[in-house]
Structures are given as structure tokens and as C-alpha cells.
Symmetry: D2
Subunit: 341 residues, 4 copies
């Protein structure tokens, strides 16, 4: 971290600052230029609040030069994190380290018939994990909020029937007691900085799929991963699902450059959710191919089964047939995808 002092900084304030930094275990390299004095901070600056320094009367500018995350940082952990999820027939699902996994299923669990049919269909096409929402974050209090506990029970049934491990979202620590049979806990985009929830899943012994918030930088995503890892749970899977921009033609803007960039700076696996990002079902297929091509470790895709009953073809979801076609084209592209410099 570099601190640029003001030209006419009050010497007393400057001394206070240097004392306080020393009390935090930070050594200081002082470099006096023609117009300005620069303090180079040496030591662990991850706990230093940059906004606090910026607000000091004697400080002109502060620049962080090293990342504020440690456990998620590839510099300190050069090898890919590899997460194994046991399945009942013995062969675990392996996420990270060069594998490619497809998490598929409906947005919401709606009935036993629905979740079981979709689960069977996506398994047959090549999905390796089942997704389905039991607790649903909805912008409107008047919208369907999910089947809750009953939805979790139906996901267990579908898992029992197909052998697919299950990914499902938690919205509040109090719901976690129902998650015993669930395999991956999903943190939704709106909860990416729900720090109390992050701390709680950090105490669980289950992989966490952490979605990037709509307006969060990659550094903030890694800081939220760091919350979970600091609690002892290092099995974190990151998920790019689109960011909020001025463009209204798509629901959000899928930031695929995040994939190779995250792979450079962190060892955690990165998957992509093209369904929520775009909000347009016809974009799911091409954006899935693009995500695979630039090196994603997997995809999370919405698949819905019953177009006639479910009001045509459902929001942003593929039919099982469209999903099957997508997996075939993905399999053709995967051997030539990007795998690092």
C-alpha cells in the first residue's frame, strides 16, 4: 500500500498516522520527493481500511498495491482448488482442476413430478448436478416465494432417484438445518454481501456456490469468498451470473472476461449461469458455448419440463430437448477450449 501525503501536511497528524500504522505491525518506507512525500507500507495490509486513510487530513491519495484477500489468492495457493462431491454410486463429482460440470434443473421446485422428470432428463443428457430452488428471493412480496421445506424434501427425492448431487439456495441461516441432504449450498447474487449468512456457511462442512452480486467487483466477490474461507470452509465455487449495467436489452450483462481473469488471481473454480444473466432463453445456448470456450469450470442452466402446462416455455429456461442439443454442442467444443496460458 502506498500513501501519498499532502504537500503541506500537518507534521503532528503525520506522526499520529505513522504511530498508528506501526501499532498495526506495518513498517514504513519513507520516500521524499520534490513536491510530495510517499509512504510505502510493508507488512500485512489486508486489515487496513483504505477509506479510513483516504479521509485523513494529511493524506492526498492512497493506492492499494496488493490484494486484500489471502486464502482465495492464487499467489499464495498456486494449485487449483478441487472439490469432490460424493454420490451414492461411488464415483464423486469433481469440480475444479480441469473438469467441466453442468448443473441443471428448474428455477423453482414446483412438484414431485416436475423435479423428478427434469432430473431424469438432464441426467440423461449429461448434467452432473441437479439445481432447483426451494427458497426463492423475489423482488415482490406478492410473488411466489418457493415451496420451502417441502421443496427441499422433493429435491432429496430427485437425488435419491437419479443419484445427482443437489445445489440449492439458502436465504437465511435459520434455513440451514433443513440442508443436511443437500450437497452444495448456493448463495444468491443479492446475498453476496450478506455477511452474517457468509459467516454461517463458513461454519458448514459443505461446498458453497457463491454468486457474484449484480453490482459487485471481482475483488468484492473474492472478499466474500474470503469470509466463507476465513470461517474454515475452503470449498467455495464462484459463479459469474451477469452484472447490472446501463444496457436494457438483456436483463444483466454477462461478464465472461471474469472467467480467465478469476482463474489468474484465484485458485477457486468458476462456473457461469447464462440463464439468469441474459433473461432470454435463446441466448443461453450461445453464451454457454462462449463460457466453455474461455475456460469456465462449468455451467448452471435452467431447464423446465412441461411447456404446455407451465405457460409455454418458462422464463429463460431451456426445454429438455434444447438442453440436450446444447450439451452435444458443448461436448464438441470442450476439447478445444481455453485452458490457460
Amino acid at each position: 500500500m502506498i500513501i501519498l501525503l499532502k504537500q503541506n501536511a500537518n507534521p503532528q497528524q503525520e506522526q499520529n498516522l505513522e504511530k498508528w500504522l506501526a501499532s498495526q505491525g506495518i513498517a514504513i518506507h519513507r520516500s521524499v520527493g520534490e513536491n510530495n512525500t510517499i509512504l510505502g507500507l510493508v507488512g500485512d495490509t489486508t486489515t487496513i481500511d483504505i477509506d479510513l486513510l483516504l479521509a485523513l487530513d494529511c493524506v492526498e491519495n492512497v493506492k492499494r498495491i496488493q490484494e486484500p484477500y489471502k486464502k482465495a489468492n492464487r499467489k499464495f495457493h498456486p494449485d487449483d482448488t478441487v472439490i469432490e462431491i460424493p454420490t451414492k454410486n461411488g464415483d464423486p463429482v469433481v469440480i475444479g482442476g480441469g473438469t467441466f460440470n453442468i448443473i441443471a434443473g428448474p428455477c423453482s421446485v414446483e412438484s414431485e413430478e416436475q423435479i423428478c422428470e427434469v432430473a431424469k432428463a438432464v441426467k440423461q443428457s449429461g448434467a452432473t448436478l441437479l439445481r432447483g430452488g426451494a427458497f426463492k428471493p423475489r423482488t415482490s412480496p406478492y410473488a411466489f416465494q418457493g415451496m420451502k421445506g417441502e421443496g427441499i424434501r422433493l429435491l432429496s427425492l430427485a437425488k435419491e432417484m437419479t443419484g445427482l448431487p443437489v445445489v440449492t439456495e439458502v436465504m437465511d441461516p435459520s434455513q440451514l438445518e433443513l440442508f443436511e441432504d443437500m450437497d452444495i449450498i448456493q448463495i444468491g447474487a443479492r446475498n453476496m454481501q450478506n455477511f452474517e449468512l457468509l459467516k454461517e456457511v463458513g461454519r458448514q462442512d459443505k461446498p458453497v456456490l457463491l454468486k457474484r452480486g449484480l453490482a459487485n467487483t471481482l475483488q468484492e466477490l473474492l472478499m466474500s469468498a474470503e469470509y466463507i474461507m476465513a470461517g474454515g470452509n475452503e470449498k467455495v465455487i464462484l459463479c459469474e451470473r451477469g452484472i447490472r449495467t446501463f444496457e436494457t436489452a438483456t436483463r444483466n450483462t454477462l461478464d465472461l472476461s471474469a472467467i480467465p481473469l478469476l482463474h489468474k488471481i484465484t485458485h477457486l473454480p468458476v462456473v457461469v449461469d447464462p440463464s439468469h444473466a441474459c433473461g432470454i432463453s435463446s441466448l443461453v445456448h450461445p453464451m454457454s458455448l462462449a463460457a466453455a470456450a474461455c475456460g469456465a469450470d462449468g455451467l448452471e442452466i435452467e431447464v423446465h419440463n412441461n411447456p404446455a402446462k407451465a405457460l409455454c416455455d418458462g422464463p429463460q429456461a431451456l426445454t429438455p430437448e434444447a438442453f440436450d442439443k446444447l450439451v452435444k454442442q458443448l461436448n464438441a467444443i470442450l476439447p478445444n477450449r481455453y485452458t490457460g496460458e
Copy 2:
């Protein structure tokens, strides 16, 4: 709500759509043009998911024409919401309906001495409510997370001493049991769409100060207010505190046009937090004047007491002296501020 059907829409899908709409209690005005058919939906469309419709094969476009919020909507509640907060000496603090309140205090409660000194100082200058954080949302797991229960106790002490009602932030439903003596529950920007927390404060009998999320539209802010109000708690105060944009010269971009716009579309009071929005203490004074001029119902301002001890002057916070100077200039501007068309 208006649905534009595709030129060659499948008649079966169209029938499914119309049946489903009818099942939701929605009447349909069908208008057949040269190229397109338009369905005008009549009835309560607040529960209709616009994304669901947009994803249908037979639908070209959907436009919402009425607001999806009801309880927060000024159309249905033309009179300003006025919130009274009792104080121990009898005269309640009144928020909304033409009053102007200043909520002031430190970002975090740090000690009894600190919170009590600041409370006394801001009261003397003209603050009508005390703020102070006991539970602190921090981007980094390694940063100070607040004094928690002990911080709440110190806020009670400062309230007892000064008579100022207290505003403090909750981060998780489990913390609410400590809030008995607190007067206004603050929901921070990162929790604006923590729907489980919104439902919980909707069951409380205390005013809620709801901060706009960094990447949330005004409509989403009102939908989150609607969550709280739908639970039975109609005492909601909205707070503009800056949105995330491409500009990096300020921490966030304070959206002051939100003030007169919110006053048009909702009856809830609106306050402004210039300290967090800008992240630069020298901008707090001018932006407070601007907020007052365009009609804000109040301000939430960070004030810190002990510059020497507390590492110079603290982040984005005013000293008690600077705060006093600001209140004097505010009082000069208030008689001529905007009060509606």
C-alpha cells in the same frame, strides 16, 4: 400491463397464455393491428412476473404500465406518511409531512466516552436523532465488525443521557432481540434485498430506515419497502445514499434527483446520507445543503469526536465543529427549500 404478441404467434400458446391470465383474475383487452396483436391486461397485475411473460414463445414484448407496489404508492395513499418517535421528555420526533430531521453520530460505536460525547455535541448543534453502528457490515472478514451487544448497550446509555432517539443497523434477524430500546431499525444498502430480513422487520413495531442498495432502482427500493409494509409495519423511511456508477472520483454517486422523484411516487419520507455516498468529508457539507434544497425530509450524517486519538479526523466524518457550522447553514437554507409543485 401491455403484451405485444409475435406476428406469427402459435394460437395454442396464445390460448394457454390467455387462460393462465384469466386464472390470475386478469381481464384482457384484445386489440388487433395491421402487424401485431396487443393484449391490454386489466386488473391487479402486481403479482404478474414480467420476465415470465417476456420468455414466452408467442410474446414479442411486455410493458408494465402501472407500478408493482401498492402500499408504498402515493396514488393510493396521497397523504404523506408521518412517523412519530416518542422521546423521554415528551415531545416526539416527527419524520415526514414537512419536517426536517438530522440523524447524526459516529459510524461505529467505539466506547462509552466516544458515543456519549458525540451524542451531546450533535444534540447541542441541532441533531434530532443519534446514529451509531453496533453491528458493522464490512467488505473484509479481517476488519473490525462492531461492538455488537455492547455497542447497543452504549447507545442506550447515550440515549438516556441526551434524550435523543437512536437509529442503528441490524444485519440478521437474530440480532433484533437486542433492539428493544433502539428507536429506528436501519437496513443497510447491502441488505436492501435481504428479503428474509425485510420480512422480519416487517413484523416489528418500530420504524425502519431502509437504505437504497448500491445498484438498485427506485422501483426496487419501493418493492423492498413494500415487503416491510406487507408484513404490517408501515413506518418506513427511505434513504438515498449513493449508487454505484463508473465514476471513481467519489465512492458512489449521490442521486439527489431521487428525492423529488420519490416524493412524487410515494408517500414515505426520504432522507439522504451524504457521508457514505461521497466518501470524502469535504463533500458532506455542500451535498447536505443540496439535499435540503431539493426537498429531503432529513439527513443522516457521520460525526466523529476525537480527531487526535482517532487517527486524525476519521473516514468521511465531520468533526462536531464542522457539523455545527453545517447545521447553521442548513437552517438558513431550509425556509427556501423545495416543498413540491
Copy 3:
């Protein structure tokens, strides 16, 4: 276009509005609901200014239901635009309609040796067009502004030597007289809404490569293409090159979902510039693969030749060796890329 009138609209204003619409050749479908009256406009609404209507006292809301562009609209021109660029050895370069072209070369033309060496190298690797800047838009007036006329002359030399057609940027109508031997005129992102320049290139008989502005929607991009096409020049190639968002880890955010979406709504070819979007050379390779996978009609890539002389490896540019490696992997992925629903 749909106009929702206010509940208590002034009948005189409403009549004025209807008369004015009729004078513009617009027929009106009037639909009276319980609370509101809706006017459905039938006819060519491309010239109607939506902001003008929104500002009327009697109008509550206006929604455009059809696109304001015609010549660029796939609805009216279902077949792909295919642009042929003659080359001196007879076989034209064909852009659009299922082909894939790579435009490669240095950011700025710096010397005869540089541009000719890069041109030879990229041709050998498989580039089909040469890029190079003679007029450079630079944020700072103190930065190098390009070789101007001399740069154009050197591009002609490199074209003569390699047979590669040349793409180069124009910044002002007065420069066009120098462009006789250039093959494609590039309009940079900052000039996407320089309407006088668009009108001028609309009068040229040369293909135009139109880059999306940093803060422009896809609809605005198509409106700018419409400016060029309305002038008589229908040979427009669109280019996605990243948009400005809150994320600072990359220079801009590459919006790849724009590719399949543009292919749905317009018949114009779409290429991607991953070099400028990301600003980080290590991201060029993976993002090029992703762009190809989701159906781009080509790429524009910066290649620099002389790392030792040119201050290591140049900004965001690949070396000829890295470019060669990229083209090989692109060729492996192209047979399985997305080609439409």
C-alpha cells in the same frame, strides 16, 4: 407505440396530442379502461420522439413497442448482409453470411518496417484484413496523436506488399480525402454518436466498421448504423468492444451476449475487438475463443512486432507468435461454434 394517458388528463391537451399525431400520419386505437385511457399508435413511429411525448402534461407513460430503426432491422431484411472487399489477387474478402474474418495489426502505425513486418506475420498466420491507426483518438492532448497522412501512406505500402485489405479509423470528415486506397473506414467508440461524421461516411462507397460506444445501448448502435445506411451506404459492420461499467479489473466489460442478440435483430455482420475491451493482453486469447464460440463474424485483434524496441510487449497487443497460436486454436473451435437457432 403505446401512450398511457393520465387519469384526469386535460381534454384540450389530449385533443392537441391526437391532432398532432394525426398530422404525423399516425392512426390511433383508443382503449378506455377502468382507470386509464390507452392510445395505441399505428403507422410509422420511427420519427416520433418518445421523450417529447413523455413530457406532456396529459401523458402518464409511453412505451415503444417497435424498433426505431428500419434499414438495419432484420424484420424487414431477413437475409444476412454480405460485404465483399476486393483484393488485388482476385479473391475478395467476404464478411457476413457465415464467414469468419480476422482483422489484425498494430494499434498505431509507427514506421514502414513495423507495419510491413506485422502485416506479413499476421497474413501468414491467417489474418484476412490488416488494421493500423494513422489518426489516433487519445484522452490526453499531450499523447502521440498518430502519424496521420504518412501513416495512411504506410498502410497502403503494407497492403501493396501483402494484398491484405486495410481497416483504419477516421476522426473527422476532412480526413476522408486521404482514404482512397483504404478498404474499410473505422468509426471509433468515442465517435459512435458523432452524427456529422456518420452522415459523411454514409455518403462514401466503402464499408464502415462501426464500434459501439462505451456507454451506448445496442439500440443506439443500430440507430447510428441507420444514420450511415440512410445516407445510402448499407455496408456497415458492427463491432462490440466493451462497455463502461463499475468493474475496474478490466478496462471495459466485453458484452458478448451482444453477438447473438444483434444477430437476431439485425442482418449486419458483427465482429468483436477483445484487445481494447479488456486492456489486458492475457485475456485476448480466451475472449477471442469465446467470441467465436457464440457466433461472431470475426475479430479485430492488436498485434505488435518488436517487443524489445517497443517497450517490452506493448499495450494489450499480442506478439505475432501469440497471435499465431490463437489462430490455430480458433480454427479448431470454429467448426463447432454457434450458428443460430
Copy 4:
């Protein structure tokens, strides 16, 4: 400027970098830490391209510590720029240095009657300059593009009649020959980085009102001012007119914190255009008061005269009566506005 080298930087590349920096007249302070080497650059770094450095193999990070603009920088020119515009009756209009000016008039010049009536009305209410568009930048090629030369002639007439100096927009250097009688040349938001146009107005002997681009940072605004000033024309007036964000409730988001921030970092006057920023006429009044309260040097406001004829009340424009009411309230607020720390 600070350069952080990579841990295992290639010594040859590092030498190349240091040689090149020396050739640019930059001295280097080398500071070797435990893990990294930091180069502190001393000298005029305004011409150094930060992106170029960031792209070097041997560079981990680069941070600019001083501003890249000089002529616009308050550090080097502490006194306010004050611009005098002569009027025919002798008393010049003075912009900057503590004055407050209101530029008012219609969006487009439409007829002699219109511009003269509006000019008389706004003068009587207290406007000190007249605005009116003769060349209009329009998103659609099918929309009205302005009266052009005839519009300029009518502005001259209105100036002759009222004595008000005139502000009008230029879109292309070729139009400037018509501007002899115009008093301030306006550069619109979309042309803020039309560098050829900036260079051209930099050669004029007339004040320039430079509007901030929809997606441009304050630093980029000052770099564009620097383009004009570097050409010899130091009479630049900056104008905040809203930035593009995710919020769609207003056309753009008016960034009022730009006012006090610009006043800190530059000596140039800053005015605010609330009409274009919001796109909603009812917000013009409150946002004008807010702009004045936080220290703006003036306002640019759209006023339209003939509501009945001009399709009710026109887009985002005030009637002369509403404008008169606004000026009265502004005059009440001005004595207590922010005037600096």
C-alpha cells in the same frame, strides 16, 4: 506515478522500461521491498500512458498519483477562472469567481417568433444568457436536425433584440464559420471526446461550454478541457448534465457531487443542466435549487413558450411562468449557498 514490478520480472525488460522512462525525462526512485520492487516516477508524467505500462510483462501494477491535466488543474492555478462576455449595452456578463448566471432558452430554435418571445421572457425573469439549438444532435437520422444556418441567424436577431449573449452548440468544425456573432460555443455531451472538434474550438477566441459525456469521468472531462486549453483557448466552462447509470426512472443521473469536487480540483467555472439530466420537467425546479445550494456557478435551463401550439408543454422544458417562479426561489437560496470550505 508508482510502478510495482512483478516478483520475477525479467531484468532485460526492466532495463528497457527504465531506459525508456529516462528518455521521457522521468527520474526513478527505486525501492526494493521483501517481495516486490517499486519504482517511483519523478517528473512530468502527464504524457505517460498508464495502459501502456500496465501491459508490460514485467509490470504488476501502475498507480497514477498526480493528475494528468495541468492547465485545468487548480494546484497550478489557484485562482478561479473568470470569463467576461461583453454585451452591447456595456455591462459584461461575468462567469466564475462567485457569480451566478442562468442560461435559458428553448432546446431548438423553431421560428423567429418563438426564439424572440422566449428570449424576452427569460431576460425579464433574470436569465443572463440565451440558449437555443441550431444544429441538433439526434439519436435518429429521421428526427428534426435543427434549423442550422437559419437558426444561427434567428439567435442573432434575438440577441440584438434583448442584449442577451448567446450560447449555441457546434457539431462539426465546418459549422464554426457561422458562429461569428455567437458568444459561447457549446460542445455537447456526445462530442466531449470528439478530439478534432476540441482542437478546433481550442483555436477560437470565444468561451467554450463543455458538457460532460454520458459515460465520462470527471478526470476525462478535465482532459477534454485540457485539449481546448492546450490549443490556446483557456475560457472553458464545464457543465454537469447527468451520467448514464442503471437507473431508468430518470433519463440520466445528475451527479451534483461533481460540483464541489470540480471546484476543488479545477479553477474553471462549473454550471449544471438539470433539464437534460432528468428528462422530466417537474424535476428541473428542485434540482436547480440543489445545484445552486452546493455551489454551481450557474444553470442552463430549457424554457419553451407556446404550450398550446407546441404540443402541450414540450420535453423537459419549463414554461416562462414556471421559469420565473424558479428564478425567484433561486434568488432566495443563493445568499446561503455553499461557497467553499
